[in-house]
Symmetry: C2
Amino acid sequence: MAGGGSDGRSVAEKLFAIADAFQGREDLSLSEIAARANLPLSTAHRLVAEWVEWGGLVRGEDGRYRVGMRVWRLGVRQPTAMRLRRIAMPYLEDLLEATTEHVHLAVRDGLGAIYLERLSGADAVSVISDVGSRLPLHATGVGLVLLAHAPSEVFDEVLASQPRRYLPNTLTEERELRRRLAEIRSFGISTSLEELTRGAFSVAAPVRDATGEVVAAVSVIAHVERVGEPQFALGVRMAARGISSALGYRPAGE
Amino acid sequence: MAGGGSDGRSVAEKLFAIADAFQGREDLSLSEIAARANLPLSTAHRLVAEWVEWGGLVRGEDGRYRVGMRVWRLGVRQPTAMRLRRIAMPYLEDLLEATTEHVHLAVRDGLGAIYLERLSGADAVSVISDVGSRLPLHATGVGLVLLAHAPSEVFDEVLASQPRRYLPNTLTEERELRRRLAEIRSFGISTSLEELTRGAFSVAAPVRDATGEVVAAVSVIAHVERVGEPQFALGVRMAARGISSALGYRPAGE
């Protein structure tokens, strides 16, 4: 089957590999797409043309390809992402105003935390997360909160995946991870110091829906020099509580 | 070729027809997808499974399919949609506060206006637009503004498409459309009364980028009883001007 681009993948899988080539990239040339999707140039050329015909990719005047409005329109039909963002936005904005750093809203997707929203103050610390990013559960504030409230199989899978130690403070061993997750469940908040990003700390808290299930997490990432300021923990707690309440959550005894 | 679902469409076209089935719908059963994509049930079953395998569609506990997080994540890589929304948001929020009705941000996509954002007050008039909606240029406030500043071929295409008269006030004839578009260009604002939605009026204005090109439109849709209140035209103008300025537009002579 050499030379024809047949590699055991279905046409659909090849089409989706082209879409995946755009993760983390705003625009790509045809040869970059072919390389990232692991396709011969001729196959990439033919399938990219199908994407363009549909409107899922657009070819710019510079000859480079970008994600098209068609995919954006389809994506906004994702029920969780749109509803959570819409409900959470006023609380995230209040939290940004109170902290002037990065404010995140994330949901769990397998072993990753997907960032549904990021609001940032003008002088916020430099971070790698952005809207649509998917970062590992064990190394982010929102991820640890989501992991603390996930089924135990998810924790087993995280351990089995050999979690990476990004910085000296990143938790990777079972015992230290278990202790941290128990702390998060007890205190209702997670505080991380330089676990993924040097010079930054994060405070994160869980968001619950009407059934009491943790469906998202809110966090602030800020310059490490500000770690002692009281508005971070307070603000994150209030934002998480406000969003939960807007989702219909009523704490026991209230 | 009977029975096998071969109808001259490529696999890619069939996959994209499945995606298109979700326009305007939050969830669909397999048979609804097959019907809307015009595919035999067996073909739909096989291709939907490929979408699910990738994460572009998700099957809920109720057996119905929804757009998955994967598509949402890909969609947020659409450069125009994300950048424009992010830059425009504070101005749209101010406009919502000043008017307490619906606030829209839209861009032109062929002969349609795509709604990038909609913010709504609690008592806003009932409308059909939502984030991701695509409505005809000739029948919406934002659409008329975008059409007024589009290349003349677009106007010819709108006329050739036999624009639909949704309500008695909808403009559909060449002479009345030409006059309205000229007015919009002269006054820098468009005011429509019950052209798409009964009981509603709209005020819309163009957003320009650093090159002076009209790249988007802002509008308010409000209850017709409030048509005389001065904050609508003023607010829409200020929002459009603020967003244009944030995009780098500098009016001549300033």
